[in-house]
Every structure is written in C-alpha cells, then in structure tokens.
C-alpha cells in the first residue's frame, strides 16, 4: 500500500500512537524517504523557488517605483501627530525626501528602474514588478516573521517549509529547503526558516557563508574519514544487535538510515558547494572574484542557489542584509543595489540559459517598504527613509509569472499602494499557487485546528500570473 506522506503525517498527529507511527514511518521511509517528491495539487510550471529576501526593508521609491512628485516637495517640513497606534519613529517633525538616484527605462515596456541596476536592466522583460503588496507591521522582526512564516509573532513554519512539505524534494541526499544567510542572521534569527509545527524534516538548513556550511557536517579536526567510518561501523553493529532484541520497534531502522543519509549528505554537499567546476566566465558573470567584495559574496550565494536548484533542492532562500536606510539612503541603498545588481541579473540569465527559469519561481522582496518622508535626526536632515508597511517593492520572475509587467500602483509620493492591494497572505497563497499548491489544501493539524501558511486563507493575486 502506498502511503501518501502528507496524509500520513496529518493522521499521525491526530492520534496514531508511537507503535503504529514508527511502523509506518519506517515503511514509508524505506520506500522513498520522508521527503519523497509529491504530486502538486494542480499543474504548475514552477517546481522550485528562489526567494531573494532583502532584509531591512528596501525602498520602493528608490528602486523600482520612482516618484517624481517628491522632487517638487523635497525638504517640505510637516508635523505628524502621534497617537497610540503609531510608533514613535514615524511621528513628530518630518520632511519629504526626493530620491537621490537616477532612473532609467528598461525593457520592451520601458519600465523605470534605478539606473544603478545596470545588469538587471537587461532582464526586466522576464520580471513582473508588483506594487500593490502591503505588510502589517513596521517592526523588523514581526514583519520578517510575517513575510517568512505568515505569522507576525513567529513560531509557525516558513514558506519554504510548507513548500517542502507539499512537494517533497528531488535529491534525497540534500535538504529540501536551504537558506543562504548573510554572515549575520536577521532579527528573529532561525525562526525565520523554522519548520514550526511541521515535522523537523522541513526545517530550512542554513548554509553558512563562514565556518562549516552545515553545522557539524564534518567531524572535529583530526578525525579522518576512515576513522569516522570505522566508528560508524561499530555504531551500526551495536544498533543492529539492539534491533534484533527489539524487532518490532521500527523507529530503529529509520534511525540507522538517518546516520547513513547523514554520511551521504556529508559527501554530496561539498560537491554542490564547490564552485571550481564552474567556468571562469560564469564566475565573472556573478561578480565572483571581482573588485566589489559585497557583490562577490552575494554573487557566490546566487550561483550556489542555481547549483542547489540544479541538484534538486526545492526551495532556496537567499538573505541580503542591510536595507534599513534611515539616513543617507544614497550611500546605503546605493551600496546594496550595486552589490545585488550583477549577481541577480546573472542568476536570471543563467537560469534562463539552462532552461531552469521555466520551472523556477524567483521572488525578490523585503519585509516592508520605506516612507517618502523622514524624521529630523542627528540635528538635521540626513536624507533617508523610515519604515512603511503600506507600500513595498516586490518582483517575481520565472515559472508561471507574467513577464515584463507591472501590477498594482502606489500613490504619487509612494506613501501607500492604491491599486491591486493585497495583504501578505495573498502573496503567500500566490507563491504556493505558482508552485502547484493550494493553500487551502496544504494544511497541517496543530493546536486544535488545521493550519495553513496564509493562517486564515487568502486569494491568488491573478494579476501576477502569466
């Protein structure tokens, strides 16, 4: 009998006990592994997802949504009253800030983007810009939790965990959901890629840019592979004898298999992470080895994302930190944009070249956008922007996305979305939809109810679909 793993897990937490649970798990695992590929709910082009998370709240006004009106009212001061529903930060004496950046038209439609996006301007025809999304918090950790897990207060499974739960993964020797964080973790830490109440198999595995890429994937220094294998053999012997004494305790088989899988992963992961097989031209395209160290580091992660997708990983999340430009936005956002421009363009071109873009959904978003105005700080005006949940820059590309398109609009200063407005949960529902999953069907029982990524259900943002 074939056991549908999704159904199996939901049944098991509804009350199957340890004996049957272990009995079924081991049988299921023996056949295909807990992460075996699953049929999507509906046919969809995208089979993988690369989520480019811009931590800190990138400004829509300075990236993909120019606001010429701000030129006219630049430095106009005004007073914003504080009430109990406003954060301290966003109130008091404020002034409007024009964007210090030049914009250029790009692609067939002449979509205006920041002119620092030189390489990216070559791929805008593959991109769907979305200006209608709204967050619900202007606080970094809560907004990040919301974008990543659907729940502002954390504790729930990340989108990548849901997708892995829904679709399983293709390469059993690699995790289904991989995170490529910056050196520093974002506010809220690992809860941003948590499996929440889903089984631990769906947890995001961070590949660290420094130190061991996966925690404890290699033994301590001085332990040779040979010695490690010898110890594993002894362990297997002990476990085999133990299993003979407990023939009906089937978890024991799964546990032994997990050690073998770990050993295989230990061998496979370095192969995926080793960029030496890439052509020098490819490395150059991703800005790896180039003069901009930040671009090189980000380029390395973009290339890794492509390699992970190629190797069969289901969901890759890249995190680029440092978009929280309250002041001196020209310098701060400028540096970020220069760092991501070439690598992201390279990623999209590379995916397209290999045909992977067709089956890969690429998403670019931060936890919220930025305000058209700024507070008076450090004794004067340091042109920058505060947080803004009412408008934010987002784009999508790849499988199933309407390419070369702008959906939604913001008001004339970029203070808030006015067209095609959707909350984060609709964005999640759309993301799942593009991957062939139905949010209302992708549920898991927890704490007395069937939970889902959108928390309470949402609608697909049709304007984004190709």
């Amino acid at each position: 009998m074939f056991i549908n793993r999704r159904r199996f897990f939901s049944q098991s937490t509804m009350g199957l006990g340890p004996v049957a649970l272990s009995y079924l798990v081991s049988r299921d695992q023996a056949r295909a592994g807990v992460l075996a590929p699953q049929k999507p709910h509906h046919a969809a082009k995208a089979k993988h997802c690369i989520f480019l998370l811009m931590e800190g709240g990138p400004s829509h006004i300075d990236t993909f949504d120019p606001k010429p009106k701000l030129e006219q009212i630049h430095m106009t001061r005004f007073q914003k009253e504080r009430n109990r529903f406003e954060a301290n930060m966003n109130t008091g004496e404020r002034y409007y800030v024009r964007s210090p950046f030049e914009f250029r038209r790009a692609g067939r439609l002449g979509i205006e983007i920041n002119s620092l996006f030189q390489s990216f301007s070559e791929v805008v025809d593959d991109v769907c810009f979305y200006r209608g999304l709204q967050a619900e918090s202007v606080n970094h950790p809560t907004a990040l939790y919301h974008l990543n897990t659907g729940n502002q207060f954390g504790g729930d499974p990340a989108a990548g965990a849901w997708v892995s739960y829904g679709l399983g993964t293709i390469n059993q020797n690699l995790p289904a959901f991989v995170v490529l964080p910056d050196v520093a973790y974002p506010q809220g830490g690992a809860a941003n890629w948590s499996n929440g109440y889903l089984p631990a198999h769906y947890q995001g595995t961070p590949l660290r840019p420094e130190g061991a890429p996966v925690l404890d994937m290699a033994p301590p220094p001085g332990v040779t592979l040979e010695s490690q294998r010898a110890n594993l053999e002894l362990l297997n012997e002990f476990n085999r004898l133990h299993r003979q004494r407990h023939p009906h305790h089937d978890e024991l088989a799964a546990r032994m298999e997990s050690y073998e899988l770990a050993f295989r992963m230990q061998a496979e992961m370095p192969r995926v992470l080793d960029l030496s097989s890439e052509r020098p031209r490819t490395l150059e395209m991703y800005a790896i080895g180039g003069p901009d160290k930040e671009a090189a580091a980000f380029g390395r992660r973009c290339l890794l994302a492509r390699r992970l997708i190629e190797a069969g990983v289901r969901f890759v999340q890249l995190i680029a930190m440092g978009w929280d430009s309250h002041d001196y936005i020209e310098k701060a956002h400028g540096a970020r944009m220069r760092a991501i421009d070439q690598p992201i363009a390279a990623l999209l071109k590379d995916l397209k070249r290999t045909g992977l873009l067709e089956e890969t959904l690429v998403v670019w978003a931060g936890e919220f956008g930025r305000s058209p105005d700024n507070g008076i700080r450090r004794g004067g005006a340091a042109w920058g922007r505060d947080h803004n949940a009412k408008a934010m820059p987002v784009w999508l590309a790849g499988g199933g996305v309407k390419a070369g398109h702008i959906a939604g609009a913001t008001d004339d200063v970029g203070g808030g979305a006015i067209e095609c407005i959707h909350p984060i949960k609709d964005f999640h529902v759309t993301l799942l939809h593009l991957l062939g999953l139905n949010d209302d069907k992708l549920r898991f029982p927890h704490a007395g109810r069937e939970k889902q990524l959108s928390q309470t259900g949402g609608s697909v943002i049709r304007e984004l679909l190709g």
Binding site: A20, G155, Q187, P220, N231, A332, G458
Partner: protein
Amino acid sequence: MRLSFTSVCLLLGPLSLPAEDAGELFLNQVQPILKRECLGCHGDGQILGNLDLRTREAMLKGGPRGSALAPGNAAASLLYQLLNGRDKLQMPPGKPLPPDAMAAFKAWIDAGAPWPAARSKPWSYQPEDLWAFQPVSKPKPPIATRNPVDAFILEKLSQNGLKPAPPADKRTLIRRATIDLTGLPPTPEEVDAFLKDTSPDAWGRLIERLLASPRYGERWGRHWLDVVRYADSGGYSNDFERPNAWRYRDYVIRSFNHDKPYDRFVREQIAGDEIDPDNPEAILATGFLRSGPWEHTGMSVEAVTRQMFLDDVTSAIGAAFLGLTVGCARCHDHKFDPIPTRDYYRMQAVFAATEFARPSIPFLEDENTAGLASGKARMAEIARRTKSNLDSFDDRVKQYLLKKHGAARLEDLPPETIQNAVREKEGITAEEYEEYKLYQKHMQLYRESLDRFEPKAFAVSSGPLDGFTDGGPNLRYPPLARYKAPEVHILPGGNIQSPAAAVTPGALSIIAGQSRLPAPDIPETVAGRRTALAGWITDPRNPLTARVMVNRIWQYHFGKGLAADASNFGKMGSKPTHPELLDLLASYFMDNGWSVKAMHRLIMLSDAYQRASSHPDIETVIAKDAGNKLLACVSPRRVEAEVLRDAILAVSGELSLESGGPGVFPQINEDVARQPLHRMGSLAPAYHPDATKRLRNRRTIYTFQQRSLVDPMIEVFNGPSLDLSCERREFSTVPTQAFSLFNGQFVHDMALAFAVRLEKEAPDARGRIERAFRLAYGRVPEPREMQLALAHLEKQTRHHRAMPPPARPRKKPVVHTITSELTGEKFEFLQEQDPAEYEENVHPSGVSPQTRALADFALALLNSSEFVYVY
C-alpha cells in the same frame, strides 16, 4: 456534522461562499464595520451624498452614481470600489479599511450580499464533543484489581480481544522509572541495588527514592516550563535578557520537589501577588504571566505591545490550565468550541489591570546564591571594559572640541555645545561611530545581565508598582497617564483599531452551563480580578483543571495522554481513550490534596506502567490497536533533548549537579557561538560558554534560555518552542541529529572524558568496556558486543598511533562585521572577550592513542539507539 457558525477566517479562499456562511460573515464582520465606519454619514441621522447604507434595499437603490451594490460581484460594486479607493474617492475618508475588513466585504458581496436579520443557531454539538465540560465523576473500577488504574486498562483490552504484555524485567524498569522521574539514567550501583532487592516493595521504595531526589523537580519542572513557554529573554529585535526570570524557573522546580498542591501552584502563578503578598514564593510565581515573548521598542506601537501581552496571557492561561485553545476566539467566536469572542475578552479583562513589576524580593534560603558574587564580578568586569571603551570615545570628542574651538578647558565652552557634540559624535569617524553604537548596545544589554544577581523578581502587580518602570529597556511598560483599570473591549478580527462592545471581567460561559461550577464573581476593581479567576480555575468543581493536569502527568509517563492532545480538550482534540480512567485520576488527584507525587505513585504502581515494551503477540496488537492506545504494552520512547544532553554528561562523569541560580551558558557548537546576532541597530556580544565546568556542565534545565539563540543540539532533538506553549514534544529522526551527535565537538569532548573516566574506574580493556556498558545502558555487554568493542579498540589504537592528533587550537578572538544602519558601510569589530580563565575540556593531544581509541568506542555508545531510547 456541519457547524453552522462560520466567520471570515476560513472564508477568504478563492471560491465564493455558500449563502448561509456569507450571512454569518455579514453579521460578524461586515455589519459591525458598516455601523462603525459608514452609517455615521450614510444613514444614522444624515445621509450624505444621497447614499443610504442602512439596508440592502437602500444599497441596491444607491445614490446619484447608481446602485452601490452588485450582488455577486464585488469588483463591480460601487461600495467596494469606494472602500478600495480606486475611484480617487476613498471611503471612509482618509481611513481605508484594514485588509481583513476589505476581504470580508469582498467575500460577502461576491457571495450575493445576503442580509440576514439575526444569527442562526450559534453552535451545534454532539454531546460527546463536550465531554471535558461535564463534571468530573468518580467511576467505580469495573473489575477488581490491586490498582484501580489497571481495572480500566484491562477491561478495555479484553473488550478488544487483547492480552496485556508481561511485566518488564527489573533492569528495564529501573531505567524507565529513573529517566521518567529524574531525567537521568540510573547509575550501575543503583541498578545493582535494585536487582538485589528482592523484597515485595522494592519497586515502591525505588519510586519513593526517586520522588525524594532533587533531580525529580528538575525533570518535572522542565515539563512545566514547556507548558508555560519559559525563556530567559524577551525575543524579537533586542531579545533582551529577563535577568530575574530564573527565579521563576527555580520556583517551579522547588514546587515539584516539595509537592506543592497543584491547585495552590496554579493560584500562585495566576495571582500570587494578590493572594499571598508577603510570601516571596507567591510573588516569584507570577513570572508565569510574563513568560511569553514580548518587546517594546521605539518602533513598537504602545497599543499593540500592550495587546500582545494581553493576548499571550489569555491564550497561555487557556492552554496551560484549562487545556483549551481559547486563543482561537481572539478574532471570532471559536470555530469548534463553545467559546464566544466575548468570553475571550472577558478573560482578558481579568488582566486589564495587571502591570509588569520588578519588586525587590530577598533571596530565599532555598535559592542558590553561591555563584552570584563571582558571576556579578565577571559581568561587572565585562561591562567595565566596555564602558571604558565608550568613555575613550567621549574623551576624543572632547579633545576634538577643545581643538576646534581653541579652548583650553571644556568649562569655557557652552554646555549645549558639548552635549550636542557628544550626541552627534563630532570628531570621530563613521566607523568609530558604529563601534560606539555597538558598545552602547552592549552596555544596554549588560545592565540587564547585571540584574541577574540582584534580589528582584520577574513579576506583576495589580496596578502600578515602581512607577511602572520595570527596570531595563525591554521591561519598561508603556506608562499609562492616570492609573485606572483600563476598559477592555471586544476586538473583532483581533483588530485593536476597531474596538466593539466593552466587557467586564469573566471566564468561560460554557463551564457554568455544563458543569456544577457557577460563573465566577470577578470584581471590577483594580485588585482581585486575578484572584477570582484563579479561584474559579482551581475550584474542585471546575471540570477541566484536574483533568488537564492528570492527563499531562499520564502523558509524560506513557508518551501520550489518555486524551492525546494535552492542551486541547475541545471538540478538535482527541477524545480520551479511557474517559472513566481519566475521571478516576482527576478525582483521585483532588481527593489527595492535588498532590502530583500521589499521582506518580498511583500510575507507576500500576501493572500498566510496569509492562514490557514488547508483546508476545505483537502482530495482533498492531492489527487491533495500531496506535497502542489501549496499552497492551509500553511504547518505547526516544529521550528528550535535555535528557540526552544530561545523560551524556552524566555517563562521562562531567555532569555538575548543582541546582538553581541564574542561567548557565553551556558549550554549544562553536560556529553558532561565533555567529553574529543582530540586536536593534547593532550586534549582540559574542556568546561565551561559562568558563568553569561546574557551570557549563550543569543540567540543561539550568541553561540560559535565549529566544534568539537556542543550543543547536537541543533544537535538532526537538527541543520545545520558546514562544508558544508546548503540549508535547515531537520525536522526529533527521540526519542533522546524526551530525550533532556523531560529529559535534561537545559529544566528542564528552566521549573523551568518558574514556578518561573509564580508565580511572577499570584496570583493563575488558573492564573498561564492561563499565561503559553498565554506565550507558545499565547492563553488561553480551559476548558479541565485547568482541566488537575489543576489536575496535585494537584497530583504533593502531590508527591513532599512526595518526597523532592536532594540537589544541588556540582560542580565536571573535571578529564580527557590522553594516552601518545609517550609511550601509561595513566595518569589522573585535568582540569583547570573556575575562574569565577557561577551564578546558580534555583534548586528544593530551591523552594516549589507547585513550583516544576508547573515546571512539565511547562515541559509538553515546550515539547508539539503546542509549537514546527508553523501553
């Protein structure tokens, strides 16, 4: 059976709703918004723009621009367009509805905009759904047995044609009982003594010995900390330390060790400060109310953070004591259980006057104060160094100023010039400014850490205490202008910006309807609200409280409760497999003074608890009772993360059994320890494991529970969520567990310590192997195992002779990169070092090849299935 009640929360899917559901949606969501936001101008008293929104007919008729409503098509409805602001005109003016409200309007119109007059029947139930609300009965055992528990178990087994498994052997039993009650494996000496004891009450005396051990409270206290979402930090942006939370943790451990009656334990945690204000324990107990994640920063909204606390505490009370998911009723009437939103906010109103407090409570004799002085000295030294760094920056600013203004003395300059310059950091570079900010952030964190050693309590009070400022930056409560118990309103959709009717404090109305417990009389004064709620929860007539707790106790003994969802006794939770047994336990609990230890005795002395984990006819058991719900045998269980770590420390001889005191910092994965962690505007200091083994090798319950930095080994072995109440641990098997246990530095270090211990305790290879098996498994090796181990020692000794280990790596200083929040530039910083001298673990370079080989064998034992499972 279908529920007739629905609300917006399930209705936002792409399909349009059945009319009946849409009608409910209208009554619950749409109509209140219309009344609140629209009718002021379009119906009640005035009808602006000639548009009347009071009835469906009036809407259909519309105004000068035509019909306002196109049933079945929200997008084509003028009403919806105006609410959406698409038409240049935004309604309500300047105040767009939140997305949830918009979604409700859309769904309602798309479903044909039904306009029912009143709600149809609110909930429909089968009687069995309400089992938990019925009075606790005192069932008679159906058959005569030595222990009443067995009567119910055996009867169910025989009804299902199953026979119970034979009793487990004594070795299995002592391991099972010792791990169950103390969270540690039995020592070889304890096993021997038990095996030798052939008296008929050997088992009973074993249980008594374990219950009397201080280790008991550490084990069962951990279970309770799971339920109460305990942590030593607040989470979110700064994840500020809660420097006195450890005193609540130790209060919990003491309460279990002293077998504090559970009803008192509950009352103290809810209202200790009101009930027994002169009793320090009762003040410490209220830490429960504040244990959830919470933070207020300059970016937070006061009303939101206050509501965060209120929602957390309401849900926590429901889950922990009542076993109900009352949190579901925050946005709408509970979908499955008879908990109207009104009840949720009435319960919340009990806490409307509850404020955070950090009163001075002198240390108790029972508290561990031994390490406070040295801990404080170390922390103060770290803070002093950081402070002197900060001062040197200020000095440089001043020097710069003197030069800039050509002044000889600072006194010659206007005071505001100095203040401004210091604030603006004139005269230092952008990089130095970031460094300055980093140290400032660290000082902010250290000020909290220094409070760990002070006799203060992490507590609450009814009404203001300490002028509302509760110490550190994370704990300061947004002050209220004039103190008066704030009114609590129902918040439809959980939205604080659209409060509906005000409510008075109360409890769950269903209880009064179904059980013999009347609704509580909760005063509306500032003080006394929590006392009244606590009294209602612990009233013996409350049908939930005792049932929920005895079910938890059963769950921790058998791996699964009689009702499998320990914190959900509602309709969606699993029904109890043995409802009468559950009632027997609950009534026994109350009849025996709510004694938790009495419950252990009752349960553990039963035959059901003492059965083998195998069954002579396992095929029949699997066929008839795949979940082993009927308990024909005992289900094997993997130990929890904490038990695993403690057991590794214990068998290696490294465990420090000191109890209590501020959280300790264990050895964790080095990469994680060195990982930069963001704190609002800057980075946290590097993680320093405690320098002494006495501290860092303490039991896991005493480790500092930082919400943003969980020991990865604990995490990977399914440690509890620190944010939500954890009713039951998961036990998944994933390859990252193998990485942690087989490759991790901590386990390698402990395996080597284990080897050194074995060499001390036995003279030769055979003796050491035997000792290792007895320590790890509580038994001697079988001949085949001995043979394998001996061969391994020989092989690995050869290997290690040929392969000398690398020297002990030098401790590298932690260098972190920070991105300037202001300018986006990146800078490198050397993080502060720990001034304490690190007591090193034994290292391979310091021992012989034989010892290293023995450590290889020990590593296999610590990784083996027999070590991590309890049978």
